[in-house]
Amino acid sequence: MPMLRSLLRPAAALAAAAALAVPALAAGRTMLNVSYDPTRELYQDVNSVFARQWKEKTGEDLEIRQSHGGSGKQARSVIDGLEADVVTLALAFDVDAIARAGQIAKDWQKRLPDNSAPYTSTMVFLVRKGNPKKLRDWNDLARPGVTVITPNPKTSGAARWNYLAAWGWALRQPGGSEASAKELLRGIFKNVPILDTGARASTVTFVERGIGDVLLAWENEALLVVKDLKPGEYEIVVPSVSILAEPTVAVVDKVVAKRRTRELAETYLRFLYTPEGQEIAARHYYRPRQAEVAAKYASVFPKVTLISIDEVFGGWDKANAAHFADGGTFDQIFGVGR
């Protein structure tokens, strides 16, 4: 069909031009780190230090691009073909999802120390100055008249962690059971007026728009607000029990094989475990793994009893199926389950 051919020709020319333009723009090497929502500032720092080291070592110019969003959404983009050399996501479950799609080797979590989580964090309450609603622990969040801001557990890593932290707290109370935990979560979500899809969006809702009495936040995000963004306007409340959140990192095997960046990507992730990398993480309020760095920054991080996902929930697959999959407890508290 001559008409179709004449239609396709300009399209092909356009595609060819685009293909030529890309390498012309990129002098030196590039790498893409696809990360979750609140790590923007952390990786800006990591990237500039690492790029400088890489230049000294190899003489190559290195440009590291970063992409941020709700952890689930980010994993989805990588599965759908976003060419991430490395992913640094909020929870192992999202990296597992990429592995299930065949882009990362199944044993990824054993390839790096500490469950492939170079830094950890936990969930805390960020409240307005003076804590006017006197919020101390998870059960306070379910009180009538309290407005709670959290992202959507269906899409956000932070929200999943804080949902499970509240659940774990309820189980540890005298007479605590699955039923009492569900009751607590039902009460908390009755007080939630808006569910954003990612942690940063929730922070904006709480801090910039002034909505809510308490934000359930990553500890690092809360410390960022209290110490750097709005000093003196907010306070952090540490609940009696919270959860050990392990944001995990992995090299995306399919992509590094194609782009021949395996060595670069692996060096980059291992850099996060070096004293220098750990220092940067600690400065951005992520809890470092390395004992010496941890000791140095001990005063920054409040003491809190941490439960782990493996002990209390039997790992992410089980936790996800029980709580966040369709018909799980999160759906049930909204009356959606069946």
């Binding site: 008409m3 179709l4 994993a75 808006i194 954003d196 899809t197 002034g210 069946r338």
Partner: protein
């Protein structure tokens, strides 16, 4: 033997133009949409049904369709009035107001959503006065209607304006001189002339409302069963790695939208034929 004269319309170029039209619509509309159908075939019939008929999905259809319909109705009434004012009166600043009408088209919808949320939330410029009256707009279904009214505002105005412009004022004067009351003029002379265009604008505004995502997610609250629109539910399903469920819901929503738009367009066309024939 003489060749039979080929039957063709008086206008040349039918073959070429219909060819380009079909190829264009195929490339831009049909191929992307057919992947939807293919994607949802990954699910079995039972899974498909349970995905599209889940209570959460049903609640989202109700909200999306209901809010879009309400917003389009508001815009139908207000759009007619705005068009009337802009075409029938001459006053200083008319061109400026005329330009304002198009702003909802040009503004990134996310910006609109954030602005509306700020204004209507409890401490906002308008929300502050509505809250004591017990009216909550931000983070409620009402907020969805407000956002959709905003993005759908230009349609009725812009479809009605040219018709009104071509409608000579003498027609109204003639009716008046024949003894028609003002109400009669509006009802018997103006409305029948304007209705087809207004209906077209209504359908466009409604269609826009069904698909709108950017502005709504900021103001809606996004709570399951209550203030979660279908496009957001589709996004959430995708982010939960439930591609099958997402495409199934998208397909059902698409078919429902198409059926409604088709019916409304037929209605508008019939009205138009009526008006021309009259």
């Amino acid at each position: 033997m003489r060749a039979r004269p080929r039957r063709r319309g008086p206008l040349p170029g039918f073959g070429l133009s219909i060819g380009v039209t079909l190829a264009y619509l195929g490339l831009m509309v049909m191929i992307p949409l057919s992947t939807l159908v293919l994607g949802s075939t990954r699910l079995g019939l039972a899974e498909f049904w349970s995905a599209v008929s889940a209570p959460r999905a049903l609640a989202s259809y109700r909200l999306s369709i209901g809010a879009a319909l309400l917003a389009a109705l508001v815009n139908l009434g207000m759009g007619l009035l705005v068009a009337w004012v802009l075409e029938r009166y001459r006053f200083p600043g008319r061109r400026l107001i005329d330009g304002l009408v198009d702003l909802p088209f040009a503004l990134p919808t996310a910006v609109a959503g954030i602005a509306l949320t700020t204004i209507y939330s409890s401490g906002g410029v308008i929300g502050r006065f509505l809250e004591p009256a017990g009216i909550k707009v931000a983070y409620t279904p009402l907020g969805v209607v407000v956002a959709l009214t905003f993005v759908g505002l230009p349609f009725v105005v812009r479809t009605v304006q040219p018709v009104l412009r071509d409608l000579p004022a003498e027609l109204e004067e003639a009716a008046a001189s024949l003894g028609a009351s003002r109400l009669q003029i509006v009802r018997r002379v103006l409305i029948p002339e304007l209705l087809p265009a207004a209906l077209t604008g209504f359908v466009l505004a409604f269609a826009r409302g069904l698909g709108e995502y950017g502005s709504v997610i900021f103001i809606a609250g996004n709570m399951p069963m209550r203030s979660e629109i279908t496009p957001l539910l589709i996004m959430i399903k995708l982010e939960q790695y439930d591609t099958g469920g997402a495409t199934a819901i998208a397909l059902v929503f698409l078919l429902a939208s198409f059926a409604m738009l088709f019916a409304l367009n037929r209605l508008a066309a019939r009205r138009e034929a009526h008006a021309v024939g009259a």
